[in-house]
């Protein structure tokens, strides 16, 4: 067996070990590689920045702990920005069953800048039904959520007094990991009610959502952990996404180096009549 054949049949455990070591290093000793903010992230930031006081923003926690590492920093960055905006009302909701718990955890961990629960922000909780639930929410919020996640009747929450349908919402943000997610919100909320919409997505679902940004159906999007890190940079905050970006860079380099090695071994091995 030639050296090229040995390289091509490299035990996958070596690959795992190399990746583990290379990704661990920048997590333990951050380098702080410079990051350029993408236009999609900038658009989301600029839109929130332009919101006048008394605007109503919905943040939908449509993800689960499986994408926590990638998407929770997005939610943290967005919520931090919204909390900093004086007078802006925040409605947290979820069309994924684990969303309300993630929202509660987030609310306990960030500075609310004097905003009060029930007056300035609420966590409405989860409603099952996917796309139908989104449509029901958009058409009649109090009927879809008669009580919030903390079991308060919705009519006892002062900020919800004048918020009845999607027509009363100024901006809708979904931190979406899959379905129901972007296409369903575009169909049921952005389209019929003309509510400006943006999303935080796992990196793998960014390409399929790009047409919605180009068509104007989405204001912008946060692409994976990088999107969260870019947003943290705009907010001038050092969060977990910024720390994780060096690891992302290193992992990309590992994959690219392995692809190069694999192709070099493939072509040289084939040239010598070995690998197929």
């Amino acid at each position: 067996m030639s050296v090229w054949d040995k390289l091509l049949s490299l035990d996958r455990r070596w690959i795992y070990l190399i990746l583990f070591v290379v990704v661990s290093y920048p997590l333990l000793f951050p380098i702080g590689l410079p990051l350029t903010v993408s236009r999609e992230t900038h658009r989301v930031y600029d839109y929130i920045e332009s919101l006048p006081p008394e605007s109503v923003v919905v943040v939908s926690f449509d993800y689960s702990p499986s994408s926590y590492a990638e998407q929770h920093p997005q939610a943290v960055a967005i919520m931090n920005h919204l909390m900093r905006k004086p007078g802006v009302k925040i409605i947290c909701t979820a069309f994924w069953e684990q969303g309300p718990m993630l929202c509660e955890e987030l609310l306990e961990s960030i500075d609310t800048h004097g905003k009060e629960y029930g007056k300035d922000y609420v966590n409405l909780g989860f409603v099952p039904g996917g796309e139908t639930a989104m449509s029901a929410f958009a058409g009649d919020i109090p009927k879809t959520f008669p009580v919030d996640h903390r079991k308060n009747p919705i009519d006892t929450l002062p900020m919800m007094a004048d918020i009845k349908t999607a027509n009363d919402i100024d901006f809708f943000i979904s931190i979406a990991a899959g379905s129901p997610g972007v296409p369903e919100i575009v169909r049921q909320i952005e389209g019929p009610y003309k509510v400006p919409f943006a999303a935080g997505l796992v990196a793998i679902s960014v390409p399929i959502s790009m047409p919605y940004v180009q068509s104007g159906q989405m204001v912008g999007l946060l692409a994976g952990l990088r999107g969260a890190a870019e947003y943290e940079q705009l907010l001038d905050m050092k969060g977990t996404a910024t720390v994780g970006m060096d690891a992302i860079s290193f992992s990309h380099i590992v994959v690219l180096v392995f692809i190069i090695i694999s192709n070099v071994a493939y072509f040289l091995g084939r040239h010598k009549g070995g690998a197929k």
Binding site: L19, L35, P65, Y68, P100, M101, S135, V206, N263, Y266
Partner: protein, 209 residues
């Protein structure tokens, strides 16, 4: 009757919801919007009921696994124990109780995140084995993926300053064209399937061919 009632119900419900999406007819409790909203609220109740049904089904399936001592039956034991314990705590003490949140944060979050993170290892291994320029198509895919990966990582900008702009061009033109085609195609497919279901030509959702 087993065929006709569900088919007629589907047709009536479907037509009301579709018409409500496009038109405003009637007022108050005699409006299309009112009927559509009521139907959607029923759907939410059915969806909530279905979640309970799914839990019962899951338990039944795993009880069979345990009884028959099938491969990995002990995983089924773990599943049933956690399902029952979490349900009891959640229902009796609430999902905001410290005990429920402890189980959630100490067990579910790290386990779920770990399983998802393992993908990084599989993807690297798969890329090493499968990403080879065996022919022209594979070479195009390889080069494109290489540039996009380089352009999306901060270190890529340091290696090649044009990487982000080239990656953006790939995302904005070839990717956009392809994705838009997929979205339009699947939308046409969904409309066609919806129409077949409405008129009763498609009955697989009733458990029939």
């Amino acid at each position: 009757m087993k065929k006709e009632v569900p088919t007629i119900t589907t047709f009536v419900v479907g037509v009301i919801v579709i018409l409500d999406y496009f038109f405003q007819l009637g007022t108050g409790t005699l409006s299309l919007e009112y009927f559509s909203r009521e139907i959607q609220n029923w759907m939410l109740i059915v969806a909530a009921f279905a979640m309970g049904l799914a839990a019962i089904n899951l338990i039944r399936l795993h009880v069979v696994q345990i009884r028959q001592r099938k491969t990995g039956w002990y995983n089924s034991v773990a599943l049933i124990i956690t399902l029952v314990v979490m349900s009891i705590i959640g229902i009796s003490m609430g999902t905001d109780s410290p005990l429920y949140r402890y189980w959630y944060n100490a067990l579910l979050v790290p386990i779920d995140a770990t399983i998802f993170s393992l993908l990084a290892f599989y993807i690297t291994s798969a890329a090493y084995r499968a990403f080879r320029a065996r022919n022209f198509d594979a070479a195009v895919l390889l080069v494109t993926a290489f540039i996009v990966m380089l352009g999306r990582a901060p270190i890529g900008e340091q290696i090649w300053s044009s990487a982000p702009s080239v990656a953006n061009w790939i995302m904005d033109y070839p990717n956009m064209a392809g994705q838009r085609g997929i979205i339009i195609g699947s939308a046409i497919g969904a409309v066609s399937l919806g129409l077949r279901i409405l008129v009763g030509m498609e009955r697989t959702y009733l458990g029939q061919d």
